[in-house]
Amino acid sequence: MTKDPFNVVVTGVGGQGNVIASLLIGAMLVDQGYKVTIGETYGASQRGGSVMSHVRISRTQQLGPLMPPGVADLVIALEPSEAARVLGTLGNPSTVSVVNTRPVHPVDVICGDLPYPDLAELFAKIDSLSRESYFISATDSALELGNPILANIVLLGAVAGANLLPISREGLEKAVSEYMSPDKVAINTEAFVRGIDLVRGRARD
């Protein structure tokens, strides 16, 4: 991380595991001596709504639980339209985005009140709002591993593989063991390594 403070957003839809993803990032960095503050916003909804975690990292100070507009350095999106939503308010020309390609349709789309954006156009928009963007089929990998919830850890692996945060497989194993439970280390490590492989195979600017 070249900047202090460094502001990360983990975003997605309720139930996609973004709270765990941000907790693990935070745990790995606190273990390295950083001050980390994590705040969550979920609008008026926890069920099916947008959920966003602000992960704020500094060597020197405990920052507030929410970041001001336009200061995100890294956006990790478990759902592509949520990446657009976050970049719309918190993005800036230096923001780097790591995005799961699989959409989760809002009920407003399911019931026909709204269209879901065209995926190719959506990815292009995310790319135009980012200095670099990485599109990862994290849910597909997670389904191959047997549980769609693992998409969050696949994305963390991609973040590590692209060297966007000082996090590693060893750090993840320690954090999962300490903050979740030792019996979850194996499956999460597998998902994390998948993410590293995916991003190294598919990265693009």
Binding site: V13, G15, G26, A27, V30, K35, V36, T37, I38, G39, E40, Y42, G43, A44, S45, R47, G48, G49, S50, Q62, L63, G64, P65, L66, M67, P68, P69, G70, S81, E82, A84, R85, G88, T89, G91, N92, P93, R102, V104, P106, V107, D108, V109, I110, C111, G112, Y116, P117, E121, L122, K125, I126, S128, L129, T139, L143, N147, P148, E178, Y179
Partner: protein, 635 residues
């Protein structure tokens, strides 16, 4: 080994504010902790429950907040340290007891943590609890960081033991539900043996004696808090602007000062002991102020009480311009945000706000307008409430008398929105749906013709609906109470309740069975599975035709609880040849009307599809599909 019970003093962990509060209580040597779950307070007792056996303490999820406070007070009356936690609405429930307990005091230590929810993110209101400290004559502390939350709770026990009365700690969503660095302190290795000294009573009578005692204890607290390290000033000696702030406002304000480069011009008066305020400290700093801005959530509590101090010391203080909610400068509703605090500081100091370049901003606006579709509130895929509301809507339509559904607190409160087909017509407090339905059911005697239906979850039923049910039964009210029994306090994180077979600590508990309880009251319930839509609809319709107070239990496990077990689920598929989409005439009943997140409308093909990453296999859509195009395979 759980995080909060680690016996490693000096170790730095990333803890949620609520975990930090729980750790502070452990470091203070609590023996008992009790609460009724309510966000944003739930993880305090939740995390203590996980370590209860290992730490040798007693932790319970109580039936409601008043009983939780009573359980904690019994421990504190017997010389122990006890913690009780609740959300802002819970303090209302506990207040009847609190406003008498403050008169007798306690003999150990009792800390009541109340977690407010500015903007009502997971609440029906955004009530500011702090005001209760004033009439209750009790001290109130407000942490502004995660580490301070831990230290403050530990200190609150010391204060409580010193004055032999309850100490209040007020947290907010942005502390309780956020995470940050916390450095662990030592854990005590011994706890006192409980003993209630019967030589002296703990009676409020007469108030002419006990009220002055409460005042004496309060004055003692004022003395102990006057030089508290929880109150600090940072910034220039004679600031152009002084920000007076507490709680979540402290971090937001400090950062806004830095962001705008105002370190040399703006000072920060951080108050941690918000009641009683440290008067000498406040007066000392007001003497250096020209302009004061109050930054706090939600009501102008600091503002009112600092202004009161200013008024009394007016003769010795300079003329000061005050800006806050009372002056009309800051919004008087809703939570704080970095953007809001930046705006207030920018305006008062005439400092420009940082902006993004115009081209990026325009592109960002376009992203928001065209690429970020709104996500409306919805029940989870496979939520039994969606099925219950579907059956209810159908039964009410068949009944044709424009029945009124009185809603209540829980996930099913979303029934006022489209996801519950707008069926619930009222929403207030725990148990008030049953109370209002019982009241409406009596209006038939005055000529009302609409049937009355109350909805209430299993946990809400135990918490506050039982008296309403008894009231209805006793007065021969005509109403139907539907208990949506999903076997957990789902909204707040699946805590057990009095109907559960295990308690908070994971030990065997004696379930107070819903149907036995209702039967004993004289209302033997009808029990149905809401996933059987036809059967449930018929049961609701039949009960609406019956006079008197009737109870229907719709029993089906919360989809998230089921998912936690990772049990194989039924596989649902839409046969793409049998789904005739736009040709069907159903007008997309499964997607447009049912609105389950497990379904997708494939606009290209003009057919519905199942999203296999989201569907939980409840099979409701298969029951409503007129073309019978949806197949459900048993796991």
């Amino acid at each position: 080994m759980s995080l909060i019970s680690k016996d490693s003093p000096g170790k730095e962990l990333l803890l949620m504010g609520n975990e930090a509060i729980a750790r502070g209580a452990l470091e203070a040597g609590i023996s008992v902790a009790a609460a009724y779950p309510g966000n944003p307070s739930s993880e305090i007792i939740g995390s203590l429950a996980e370590v209860a056996q290992e730490m040798g303490i007693y932790v319970e999820w109580s039936i409601n907040e008043k009983v939780a406070l009573e359980v904690a007070a019994a421990a504190a009356a017997s010389g122990l340290n006890a913690l009780v936690a609740m959300k802002q609405n819970g303090l209302n429930v506990a207040s009847d007891f609190l406003f008498n307990l403050n008169l007798t005091g306690i003999r150990g230590g009792l800390v009541l943590v109340v977690c407010d929810d500015p903007s009502g993110i997971s609440s029906t209101n955004e009530q500011d609890s702090r005001i209760a400290a004033i009439p209750a004559d009790l001290p109130l502390l407000e942490p502004s960081t995660f580490h301070e939350a831990k230290d403050m709770v530990k200190y609150a026990f010391e204060l409580s033991r010193s004055i032999q009365n309850v100490c209040l700690v007020r947290s907010v969503t942005r502390i309780s539900h956020a995470r940050g660095n916390v450095t662990l302190g030592p854990l005590p290795d011994r706890r006192p043996v409980p003993y209630f000294d019967t030589a002296k009573s703990l009676s409020t009578l007469p108030a002419s004696v006990t009220h002055p005692t409460a005042h004496r204890k309060f004055r003692q607290a004022r003395e102990l808090l006057k030089d508290s390290p929880f109150n600090r000033y940072e910034g220039p000696e004679k600031p152009e602007l002084m920000v007076v702030t507490c709680g979540s406002g402290v971090l937001f304000s400090r950062e806004a000062v830095q962001e705008l480069g105002l370190d040399a011009r703006v000072g920060l008066l951080k108050v941690g002991t918000t009641w009683p305020l440290p008067e000498t400290f406040v007066v000392h700093h007001l003497a250096n102020a020209k302009k004061v801005l109050f930054v706090e959530e939600v009501d102008p509590f600091l503002e009112t009480n600092v202004l009161e101090i200013y008024a009394r010391h007016n003769g010795n203080l300079p003329a000061i311009e005050f800006f806050g909610k009372k002056s009309g400068f800051a919004p008087d509703v809703g939570e704080l945000s970095p953007g809001l605090v930046l705006g207030l500081l920018s305006q008062l100091t005439k400092t420009p706000l940082p902006t993004r370049d115009d081209r990026y901003s325009a592109d960002a606006q376009d992203a928001l307008h065209r690429f970020a579709p709104v996500r409306s509130l919805a029940f989870c895929a496979g939520c039994p409430h969606r099925a219950s509301y579907w059956a209810l809507k159908k039964a009410l339509a068949l009944d044709g008398r424009n029945g009124v559904v009185f809603g209540d607190i829980g996930c099913y409160a979303l029934g006022v929105f489209a996801t519950g087909f707008h069926q619930a017509k009222t929403l207030h407090a725990m148990g008030s749906g049953a109370g209002m339905a019982a009241g409406f059911g009596l209006l038939g005697k005055l000529g009302a013709t609409q049937p009355a239906i109350a909805l209430c979850g299993d946990s809400t039923f135990y918490h506050a609906a039982i008296p309403a049910l008894i009231n209805g039964l006793h007065h021969r009210s005509d109403f139907l109470l539907i208990i949506l029994d999903n076997s957990a306090t789902a909204m707040t994180g699946f805590q057990p309740h009095p109907g559960s077979r295990v308690d908070a600590m994971g030990l065997e508990a004696r379930p107070v069975v819903l149907e036995d309880l209702c039967a004993a009251l004289g209302a033997p319930p009808v029990i149905r599975d809401p996933f059987d839509l036809e059967d449930t609809t018929a049961a609701i319709y039949d009960l609406l035709q019956k006079q008197g107070t009737n109870v229907l239990i719709l029993r089906q496990e919360c989809a998230l609880v089921r998912a936690k077990r990772n049990q194989a689920r039924r596989k649902v598929e839409i046969d793409q040849t049998r789904c005739i989409g736009e040709e069907c005439g159903c007008n997309r009943l499964c997607t447009r009307v049912l609105k389950c997140p497990g379904l997708n409308w494939d606009a290209g093909a003009g057919k519905a599809r199942i999203d296999e990453a989201i569907c939980t296999g409840c099979g409701i859509c298969a029951q409503i599909c007129p073309s019978r195009a949806i197949d459900v395979q048993e796991a």
